[in-house]
């Protein structure tokens, strides 16, 4: 197997990328980590005309905290998201979710910008971005704009990037007083999850003041489970409530049927994951 013919440019500056995108538009396919794109090219499911490689572009691989947000450069590798002390210190749920992506040999290449832009419905990071109500920064010769996850991730393998734009970073608001966690169920570790949940709770005096719950792997994009969050508000997360929340989640979510799992099974997984994650979050708070 080998990819079909294309033209290739190893861009060495952001301007060079943006100029090519501006000039060639839709003809350009951007190469980040390549762990989804190259398999698609090997199988000839993707036939790019021009491949612009981002791996030598400086300035796209930083991790820092700015204005209450964790800003991660689009070309930061999943392996580094999983182990970087700033990420593990400020957003451990994100680090944990990144460690679920494929295998170490894949995570050494996978990038956060590529992963989120690819918008695979089973992918972990778009779900975490949704749970944090995060955003991406898009740059073009026309300027720069911030787009919330909800507008950016449209559907399966579809995002709202314009043809002349580049995702330069991904931002996760740090939410003081909140605890987040990610967990999933996959046939084998490293496989795409049948279902995954990213949950965040804000608890004071033992009472739930805020909750965000997002499911991945069940629909064409991350699904925010607002019913569960509503139900939890004002309650104490005791064993009976957590059990009930799992049930609410199971009933709220409408899940895909496919060769890997039935809709009914995925719903049960969502309920089980809610129970497991919230139980652990409560234990951590004690």
């Amino acid at each position: 197997m080998r990819p079909g013919a294309f033209r290739y440019l190893a861009a060495t500056s952001l301007d060079e990328v943006l100029e090519n995108l501006s000039e060639l538009g839709d003809e350009v396919t951007l190469l980040a980590g390549g762990q989804s794109l190259i398999p698609l090219m090997n199988l000839r499911l993707a036939r790019p005309e021009v491949l612009v490689d981002l791996n030598r572009v400086p300035g796209l691989a930083g991790i820092d905290l700015v204005d209450g947000e964790l800003r991660i450069g689009a070309m930061v590798r999943a392996a580094d998201v999983a182990s970087d002390p700033i990420v593990t210190g400020s957003l451990p749920a994100l680090a944990r979710a990144a460690a679920f992506i494929g295998h170490p040999q894949i995570r050494n290449r996978t990038t956060i910008g590529g992963n989120i832009s690819h918008a695979d419905p089973s992918s972990e990071l778009p779900g975490v971005l949704a749970a944090f109500e995060g955003s991406v920064t898009l740059k073009s010769l026309r300027g720069e704009r911030r787009v919330g996850w909800d507008e950016f991730i449209v559907s399966t393998f579809t995002n709202s990037r314009e043809a002349d734009e580049l995702v330069v970073d991904v931002r996760f608001p740090v939410r003081p007083g909140w605890s987040f966690a990610y967990d999933e169920v996959a046939p084998r570790h490293g496989d795409y999850p049948l279902a995954g949940i990213c949950a965040g709770v804000q608890i004071s005096d033992g009472i739930v003041r805020g909750m965000r719950l997002v499911a991945v792997g069940v629909s064409d994009r991350p699904v925010v489970l607002t019913g569960v969050a509503q139900f939890a508000l004002g309650r104490e997360l005791d064993a009976a409530t957590i059990k009930e929340l799992g049930k609410v989640g199971r009933e709220e979510v409408s899940a895909n049927d496919d060769a890997h799992a039935s809709s009914e099974y995925r719903k049960w997984l969502v309920g089980t994951l809610i129970n497991r994650i919230l139980g652990n979050l409560v234990l951590e708070q004690r």
Partner: protein, 161 residues
Amino acid sequence: MNTPQTVKTIQLLVNGAQIEREVEVRTLLSTFLRDDLGLTGTHVACEHGVCGSCTILVDGRAVRSCLLLAVQTDGTSVETVEGLGSLGDLSPLQEAMWREHGLQCGFCTPGILMSIEGEARSGSSAEEICDEVLSGHVCRCTGYQNIRTAIHAYFATRHGS
């Protein structure tokens, strides 16, 4: 502004030797190593990143050579199984795999060796390598148990030296 090309000349280190070659940009790194450089120790099976057979090191990190283009390695240091050791002069890891029967047919072995080598250098523990790193490889002969034993044996020699 540089323009996109279909052929490019690349310079890289392969197992420590400086190489310069003209490559078609669509050539996969695995194809380049095997067909252009004759380094057939890097095996190719699934060619979409699942099986782990083609794993090599690029700048010390274990990656799938079927998911990289050869042009992407311009200016890097690439290490393949040929750089580890040779018949009669096995590396400590190869020696451990041989002693512990960590292979049978041997098809998956070069990829597994390179993954273990890369992760061991980056400071991973034997246990992490057994569980995490080995999950990135498909072996149909051994059932993995002897590979795990070999990893522990290899780490024992590393700490002993």
